[in-house]
């Protein structure tokens, strides 16, 4: 057991090397959406600046009509341990997705829309990819009202161009 002579006062402020986390979410599955949100929100919880960029199927988590109906993949997902033929049966994805949502509720994990609100209230930003929006014929009004903007890939890299920024692709 070590004893401190002086009180803990004025511990030297450690300069943070990780200052900004930028998460790119390109997938529409529940697991991808939560991984993106937990990483992005977790950064804010540590006092790290945080931004999320939704592209391709990742746009579904910020599309008003889709965000409440994300699914886990029951086909081609070895993690589910369901035979491919069974995973492809009608209703299987909904069933598995609902089971997963129930488990998450038990752990006090919010639904996607509430999680996005929590994340934005913490100061986190969410952007949509312009090219993917064009591809899926999505307009800004199709996406969440509090979207922080629509970016090109160049805009995104410009936002990343600062010391201590890290980009994570999901």
């Amino acid at each position: 057991m070590e004893t401190l002579e002086a009180p803990v006062k004025k511990k030297a402020k450690k300069e943070k090397k990780l200052r900004k986390i930028m998460i790119i979410n390109s997938k529409a599955t529940i697991d991808a959406a939560y991984a993106a949100l937990i990483l992005a929100n977790g950064a804010r919880m540590e006092g790290i600046a945080s931004e999320m960029f939704c592209t391709f199927f990742g746009l579904e988590m910020i599309t008003k009509e889709k965000m409440k109906h994300l699914h886990v993949a029951t086909v081609g997902n070895p993690g589910m341990h369901i035979p491919t033929m069974i995973g492809g049966l009608p209703g299987m994805e909904s069933f598995a997705s609902n089971m997963m949502k129930k488990e998450m509720e038990k752990l006090d994990i919010p639904e996607i829309d509430e999680f996005i609100e929590i994340y934005q209230a913490s100061g986190g930003k969410i952007f949509a990819c312009k090219l993917a929006m064009d591809m899926f014929h999505l307009k800004e009004q199709d996406l969440i009202d509090d979207l922080d903007g629509v970016l090109t890939v160049g805009d995104f890299y410009n936002r990343a161009d600062e010391e201590g920024a890290q980009i994570i692709f999901i």
């Binding site: 070590e2 004893t3 009180p7 540590e46 209230a121």
Partner: protein, 103 residues
């Protein structure tokens, strides 16, 4: 575990400076830790601190979401009161062990 003296009172802390014995905490200690975090505590801060200690006493695992729903502060205010890592900072100032929360 290490022993420290905060506001002239002996306390037991973990390596990261979180309380191991919340019963050793009092408001003067809270002020001393907050000063170190460059936060000057207001009545609003103490409302949050009281809520956090109350939840800890009731053995409820704290999350940002729960604090946002507490009716004491919303999430935006919570981040403004305890900038740069509110759950951890507030827990340290409130003299409870480090929260193990990902949300």
């Amino acid at each position: 575990m290490m022993e420290a003296v905060i506001a002239n009172r002996p306390v037991e802390l973990n390596e990261e400076g979180y309380f191991l014995k919340p019963e050793q905490w009092d408001r003067e200690i809270a002020h001393a830790i907050a000063e170190e975090e460059e936060i000057s505590l207001t009545d609003k801060h103490f409302e949050v601190i009281d809520y956090i200690r109350d939840q800890y006493d009731k053995d409820v695992a704290l999350t940002i979401r729960r604090i946002g729903k507490s009716g004491v502060v919303n999430i935006k205010e919570f981040y403004a009161l305890f900038p740069d890592g509110p759950l951890k900072k507030a827990s340290r100032i409130a003299g409870i062990p480090k929260p193990a929360s990902c949300i």
